[in-house]
């Protein structure tokens, strides 16, 4: 029996596939169709699948979403409170997966920075994308990555020329908007930094207004030798929405990627990040906080592979679950044979603020090299009673004392954001969330 979720997508497929950008390209069209065929064969992952052990899809499987471009994409959008304040740099806005030129700013790009939408790129000059998109077909992927491969209609294609140092951050806003019927959207992003290039990206998921969309976003990020990417992710999707994100990172020699993430929104959210440190001395830093409350379910899944010598990865993640919120964290680190000099550390500390909240965490280390430094730790606990009492004894009311301590718990995650404007933005998003809960 095919899950209603998938059946609805298959039913809509014929009408949609022929209208997608690049539908006239035989290699792309056949790839999309073969992804759908694989999806029909394999279905949705269930709890027997290790990677989905803590995230049940039973309820989602029963829902139907309409695919293809539809209502909701042309709504009025007020970017105040969503876009970076006083920001003059490049910005791309997608509403329910559709590009909104009227809200975006792609003129006067700095030298060395090339940005286009995926739809445009497929129309104008598809050949360079062939290789990049094909690479995704090599990566192991599940139902949502396949849905994305089949249906992604648009996205961002970004390249930084070798040695270009781009000062202003690039803003990528992926917004959900209400629709008459539940609707699915799929976005595909490609980021490539040439040798020695520098870039910072703010990726923000937010809601124009409450919506019950299902979104998938898949990104390929390739950081070439000696290049540096700073990436700030703020995920504040609508409380009824479902969001499945997958990011493939590849780091060449001495490349650096720093990710700072706040996972706050959505009803059911999963963030998969698989990284390959394939050049010597590549360095990956990931820091994030996930904060499920209400009945939210937020799953973070890291898969970091050290495939070259003297590579370093540092993952520091904090989970805070309140009410009936559920968090899941998997941090897998693999050190390949020969990847000597690897320095890998993984820490996931979690706070449960309510008796009904739950967080499952599992660090997994697989080491096949000899000269390796690896440390990992995961804890689940409650707010420290002594600290709470200390604050209260000075006159601070209990709810405020709890807020202060939970904010402090998250602060370590945001401390290492270099750009003061982005640090302020992230602090503000965190504070606003805390006041709301």
């Amino acid at each position: 029996m095919v899950a209603p979720l998938l059946q609805a997508m298959f039913d809509g497929a014929d009408g949609v596939l022929s209208t997608l950008p690049g539908a006239q390209l035989p290699w792309l069209d056949s790839w999309r169709r073969s992804e759908l065929a694989a999806l029909a064969r394999d279905g949705l992952p269930d709890h027997h699948d290790e990677a989905w052990k803590y995230t049940a899809l039973r309820a989602l499987a029963q829902r139907r979403y309409v695919v293809g471009r539809g209502d909701g994409v042309d709504v009025d959008v007020d970017l105040a409170g969503i876009a970076l304040p006083a920001h003059e740099g490049p910005r791309l806005v997608f509403v329910n997966g559709c590009f909104r030129a009227d809200l975006s700013r792609l003129n006067r790009l700095p030298a060395g920075l090339e940005i286009d939408t995926l739809a445009n790129a497929l129309r104008r000059n598809p050949e360079p994308l062939r290789f990049v998109l094909a690479r995704a077909s090599e990566a192991p992927r599940d139902a949502f990555a396949r849905l994305n491969a089949a249906f992604a209609a648009d996205g961002m294609v970004l390249r930084v020329a070798p040695d270009a140092r781009i000062e202003a951050p690039v803003e990528l806003l992926l917004l959900g908007a209400p629709t008459a019927e539940p609707r699915a959207w799929h976005t595909r992003n490609l980021i490539e930094l040439g040798d020695g290039a520098h870039l910072s990206v703010v990726e923000r998921h937010a809601a124009v207004a409450a919506n019950a969309t299902l979104g998938t976003a898949v990104a390929d990020i390739h950081v070439h030798a000696n290049a540096e990417l700073d990436w700030l992710l703020l995920q504040e999707s609508s409380p009824d929405s479902v969001l499945m994100r997958r990011n493939h990172l590849r780091l060449d020699a001495a490349a650096v990627l720093r990710l700072h993430a706040l996972e706050l929104g959505g009803a059911l959210v999963r963030h998969e990040l698989s990284a390959e440190l394939r050049g010597d001395a590549a360095r990956l830093e990931t820091r994030g906080a996930f904060m499920p409350t209400g009945r939210q379910h937020i799953d973070t899944w890291l898969d970091i592979r050290h495939a070259a010598r003297d590579t370093a990865s540092d993952a520091l993640w904090r989970g805070i679950a309140d009410q009936r919120g559920r968090g899941a964290f998997t941090g897998r680190i693999t050190v390949d044979p020969g990847a000597d000099g690897t320095d890998a550390s993984l820490s996931n500390k979690n706070l449960l603020l309510s008796a009904n909240a739950e967080i499952d965490t599992r660090p997994v280390l697989e080491i096949y090299a000899d000269e390796v430094k690896a440390a990992h730790g995961a804890t689940v606990g409650q707010l420290d009673e002594r600290s709470l009492f200390y604050l209260q004894s000075r006159g601070i009311p209990l709810p405020e004392a709890r807020r202060m301590l939970t904010a402090a718990f998250c602060r370590a995650v945001l401390e290492s954001i270099h750009d003061p404007a982005l640090r302020t933005l992230a602090d503000g998003v965190l504070a606003a969330r805390q006041l709301a809960s």
């Binding site: 009492f389 200390y390 604050l391 004894s393 405020e400 202060m404 301590l405």
Partner: protein, 253 residues
């Protein structure tokens, strides 16, 4: 100001205070001394309202109101301050931010105007001088990386800032060398006033050389077994707490 009557309290199911009575009037400094396990710290924690300290009988009146009915933050706003024996390190919470939050929360609870950050910093600088604390400590996390002496001085500095009506000092002398002890005592003495009461809880007489109490009480097995003036502290110093056991139990304590 503070009237404790027949107070019984349990911690983890074990009765620690067994009928403690004590009255403190405004302007008075009372010292409570006693051996380990007598219930000294329990008394401080019960007064401040710490969870897990269960009052099973008796009453505590503060300015005529039932102190035990109030949440810890309400007691603070009413004017009760506990200087902790072990001040808590709170990583990630900036000291200045914490102090201002506490200061303004108390003012708000009392219906007073809150201070903005400029006004507050000015006040903090004045009070810092009194305790001879480095302004640099304000930029750190609460008590994090403070030496033992700095932590205790920080407690007294908070007291100076929050200006409570009743200050309870829980073994503020423990772990201090003589210089730090003198500094802490000087800070306390600077805040003695006709409107303010002090309850100084200590194991050793030494602190009372520098903070001269008006009354000294001996706490043993959960009750006040002896009360007197400061000479009682000297007697304890000379004979030790064992001396209490050799005497018949004080009557009516």
């Amino acid at each position: 100001m503070l009237k404790i009557e027949n107070l019984h309290a349990r911690v983890a199911g074990k009765e620690i205070l067994k009928g403690l009575s004590l009255e403190i009037k405004a302007g008075e400094v009372h010292a409570v001394m006693g051996p380990n396990g007598a219930g000294k710290s329990t008394l401080g924690n019960v007064l401040a309202g710490r969870a897990g300290y269960e009052v099973t009988a008796g009453s505590v009146q503060f300015d005529g109101a039932d102190l035990l009915a109030l949440a810890p933050e309400e007691r603070a706003a009413a004017g009760v301050f506990l200087a902790f024996q072990y001040p808590v390190e709170i990583p990630g919470v900036n000291n200045t931010y914490f102090l201002r939050a506490a200061f303004n929360a108390q003012r708000k609870a009392r219906g007073d105007q809150e201070l903005d950050s400029m006004q507050f910093l000015k006040l903090v600088r004045e009070k810092l001088k009194v305790m001879d604390l480095s302004p640099e400590l304000l930029n750190r996390a609460v008590n994090e990386g403070f030496s033992g002496g700095e932590k205790k001085r920080n407690e007294i500095f908070q007291m100076a800032l929050l200006e409570p009506r009743l200050a309870v000092l829980d073994e503020t002398d423990s772990g201090l060398d003589i210089d730090a002890l003198k500094q802490v005592a000087a800070g306390v003495n600077a805040q003695r006033s006709p409107e303010r009461g002090f309850l100084v809880i200590t194991h050793y007489q030494r602190l009372l050389d520098y903070i001269e109490p008006d009354f000294v009480h001996v706490l043993a097995q959960g009750r006040i077994v002896e009360s007197g003036d400061k000479s009682l502290a000297l007697k304890l110093e000379e004979h030790g707490y064992a001396w209490l056991k050799e005497r018949p139990q004080a009557v009516g304590a």
